[in-house]
Symmetry: C2
């Protein structure tokens, strides 16, 4: 077994070429294996794991390393000698006579193109995207290995211009029925998708189709879009677009767990979409099953099933918006788990939110006797029950607190639980009703969650009637109380200009992987392929000088 290698410093080759070179080398007579990679530390490790001996090979991360093992010195040397020729055999699949050499030329050639697809290597991608935005184009940025700073800058620029920037590392989208990047072929329909997750979007897309449903637009955002630094710029623009799109009746929103503030903004946007929105924040505990117009799915499959069900039922029968919350919510609970379920359901949408149940010190109520902003308090916790009966038996502490919240001008909504049954107070409504009536008189809204059965000693219906007569809105569980709150959320702030694109035929400029050009054409879209080369042949020093010169020209 013998091994030989070649290093080609700092030059640019696209990955298709490298894959083809590797396959060609590995197929030559007498060759047992071949590796063709940019010599990054990760790639070196992977080569080593595949059995290539790399000791003594010095190559930098942007060097191309070509390595061949074989049965004889001659076979391996022969293979290495062919590298130059093989690299020349660039196979062009794009059947396009004229190939513009710049984005600008491509835009002039296909003025209808509203979209630019970019799949050049990461270190070049931000500059190309920036240029596309300057030309007023929406961007599908497939490239990965783009820095977070570049992403933030590009997205803010896009938003300011009313343009959509999908990505970086956006693997998939379906725009006007045409799949971009990796995309399953799905029928058109009335389900719109926003996904900070490439295969998440593909999986939901495919399942919707397989269940008989169809997709209006599917917009990828890139996996980092919902991180705090990026702020969900693209997802919020996309949601806004789908909200206004008359072809979309149901929206699906998919993401890995978003940052807390971004989740809150997105859910509020979604809550004001005026259409059902199926939400799957993968791995994030759902605050409920169905709250307001939001349906929380427990996974990708579940999300697709919900969306198709709603689409079929054309059930966009939404309740009218009620008077939005205009002050704080204060929850005074006797049941720990009820308090906890309420806290979980609210934490994604009400901020700031404090509780004596929070494990996060920043969200823990500083002083048990005083509510802060929105507060959920469990009066059955150990700290309240030393030498005192549980609040399910003794309402004294809760009545005092209810009066305290009533006196607070910042409070709008007070939520109570009333747990009936054996062992509990024989008539909680009798004690609570006067205090609830006083709260109502002071202009507060009161919600009571009554847990009980008709066989309970307290007479369930009588308790409900008396709480309602005092002015409380009564629900049988936390989920319905959360639904009440979700239907009354004030809108999130979103001053960005609306994104618009025509939803007829798709026309796009493709920079990078030619297979993406081929697939747009195969799907009936219009496209132009740019014969792109990195500036200065990919030489980083020269690129920096060019960028500086461009900057000075502005």
């Amino acid at each position: 077994m013998t091994i030989q290698y070649q290093i080609r410093p700092g030059a640019y080759y696209d990955s298709v070429i490298l894959m083809q070179l590797q396959k060609s080398l590995a197929g030559l007579p007498g060759v047992t294996d071949a590796g063709v990679v940019m010599a990054t530390p990760a790639n070196r490790e992977l080569l080593a794991a595949s059995g290539f001996a790399l000791a003594g090979i010095e190559a930098k991360a942007d060097d191309l390393l070509i390595i061949v093992t074989g049965e004889s010195e001659t076979a391996v040397a022969d293979a290495i000698a062919q590298v130059g020729d093989l690299l020349q055999q660039r196979r062009t699949t794009a059947a396009q006579a004229y190939r513009p050499h710049s984005l600008k030329a491509a835009a002039a050639n296909l003025p209808a193109a509203e979209w630019v697809l970019i799949s050049v290597p990461g270190r070049f991608a931000a500059a190309v995207a920036d240029e596309a935005l300057d030309l007023g184009k929406h961007v599908f940025l497939y490239s990965d290995n783009v820095s977070l700073e570049d992403e933030v800058e590009l997205k803010q620029k896009a938003r300011a211009k009313g343009l959509l920037l999908m990505g970086p590392d956006c693997g998939t989208a379906v725009i006007n029925g045409v799949g971009l990047g990796f995309a399953n072929r799905v029928r058109r329909g009335d389900i719109g998708i926003v996904a900070a997750s490439g295969t998440g979007l593909q999986a939901v897309n495919a399942e919707i189709h397989n269940l008989g449903g169809g997709v209006s637009q599917a917009i990828g955002t890139g996996g980092r879009d919902l991180k705090a630094a990026v702020g969900g710029v693209t997802a919020r623009q996309a949601l806004d677009w789908l909200r206004r799109d008359p072809q979309t009746n149901v929206i699906v929103l998919i993401s890995k767990p978003p940052s807390e503030q971004v989740a809150a903004d997105l859910l509020r946007d979604a809550q004001h979409a005026g259409k059902p929105v199926v939400v799957n924040f993968i791995g994030f505990p759902p605050p409920g099953r169905r709250l307001g117009n939001l349906i929380f799915a427990s996974g990708l499959t579940d999300a697709a099933e919900h969306a198709v069900q709603i689409s079929f039922a054309k059930a966009a029968q939404l309740t009218q918006k009620r008077r939005p919350l205009h002050g704080y919510l204060r929850g005074l609970f006797s049941g720990g788990t009820l308090a906890y379920e309420m806290l979980l359901g609210l934490q994604t949408i009400l901020s700031p939110l404090y509780s004596n149940l929070s494990s996060d010190p920043e969200k823990r109520l500083a002083d048990l006797t005083t509510s802060q902003a929105n507060t959920i308090i469990d009066l059955g916790e150990d700290e309240f029950t030393q030498g005192r009966l549980h609040p399910m038996m003794d309402n004294d502490l809760r009545l005092r607190r209810l009066r305290q919240e009533t006196a607070d001008p910042g409070v709008d909504l007070i939520v109570l639980d009333v747990v009936l049954g054996e062992g509990a107070h024989p008539d909680p409504a009798g004690e609570l009703a006067p205090a609830i009536a006083a709260a109502k008189k002071a202009g507060k809204r009161v919600v009571a969650i009554v847990v009980g059965t008709e066989d309970d000693p307290q007479d369930l219906n009588d308790q409900i009637e008396r709480l309602a007569a005092a002015g409380a809105t009564v629900f049988p569980n936390v989920n319905e109380a959360l639904d009440y709150v979700y239907n009354r959320l004030p809108a999130a702030e979103n001053a960005a200009p609306s994104v618009s694109f025509n939803s007829g035929e798709l026309a796009a400029i493709n920079v990078g992987l030619e297979s993406f050009y081929d697939s747009i054409k195969a799907q009936g879209g219009t496209a132009v392929q740019v014969d792109w080369r990195p500036p200065a042949g990919g030489n980083e020093k020269l690129m920096a000088i060019l960028a500086k010169m461009k900057e000075m020209k502005k």
Copy 2:
């Protein structure tokens, strides 16, 4: 406005007495408000928040503080003067002629009693529970403010004796149709409940009844049972009991998010219950919707609905157990979100589990080129795609890894995803099938998740058939692949002796709140009330000496 107070140092009063005293004082002529509390710091703060001026009042945490405000000196002084008399007027509700003064005497008096209910103040509760276990009784420990150390000790003792200790801070249970503590009246039926959550159990109980279902047994564990220190002792005993109970067809398991190891043990126990188990770990992301015999609910209401649906359908039609996993699982993914969804679904049941997607440094794959234990690897991550095509286009890296996993004798199951569609490899099955066949030949099991539609350019059905022909078990989504794994989990270890109690009539000894005695009788159970007083009148120093003497006698 004038204020007076009285301090009664270190003596024991039960909380009902204190509540009655406070109400009596507040109702006296000329009195505006009264407070009667053990003078803990929390209680002092609460008094202050209610408007009592406490400056200069020195009282210790185990002192009883009685404070009265009123219109005149005389009225307030009159009220304080009556404290002694009012404390004597203990109203006994329990219509019981003979009141044993000790647990032992009560046990002799009602030998059929398998249960002891304990609701004495927290600082005395552990000793009473210990005594009940020594008498061979199951314990319902309502008292809160019991230390975690005492809980661990008591539960380990109970488990060793084959006894169930519910609590501390266990608010509710339904045993043989009789509610203990706080409990809604529900019809008997075939749904068994295990809950580390008091009001969670009550809410599900009540909703099951209101939906027309019924409850066989509802067992509370205390809110800390599923913490790592306690290890879910009670929950696992209860689950085992319901598994064997012929009256239970469906089990509901409710808890706040458990510790990771406890969750894994519980889910494995549940997976081997041979009955459908509806799980709601409140605020914990569900790994899927329905996996094996486990149904993951998104909230309390959802849990109740699922349980009743299954109970009505008598759908205990469970698939037969398949050959359990006997080695590691290795997932080689091209789709990031598919990998992530798989990781989430497995993290509660397979341990240890590593991935290049884990944010937890301890679960992050140390070396990208080598799998550890169970591993889920996303080959589409940035570190793998520098200068290399995405694995959806280029299978080279995955094929190498597949051969590597095949060569590892510790591996049992290899999971792959195959994402079809525009942009993806034109024939992934063609490249993967030989490597899958080789893995099968080496004794591995292979699962392939194929995402695609019939309109995709690759021919979905042909791809599926060729993967299956090579020996892969093919599923259309991650959820079904997870289901495959859940149906093949090896059992968790659980060497504890089984708990047993008769499931006919309930007989119990009650120590503490008399209202609990009343309610057992009202529900048709048999009970005896112990006329309990703390040892040494509640004097802590004397109690310590007594405890030491008892210890020496053993």
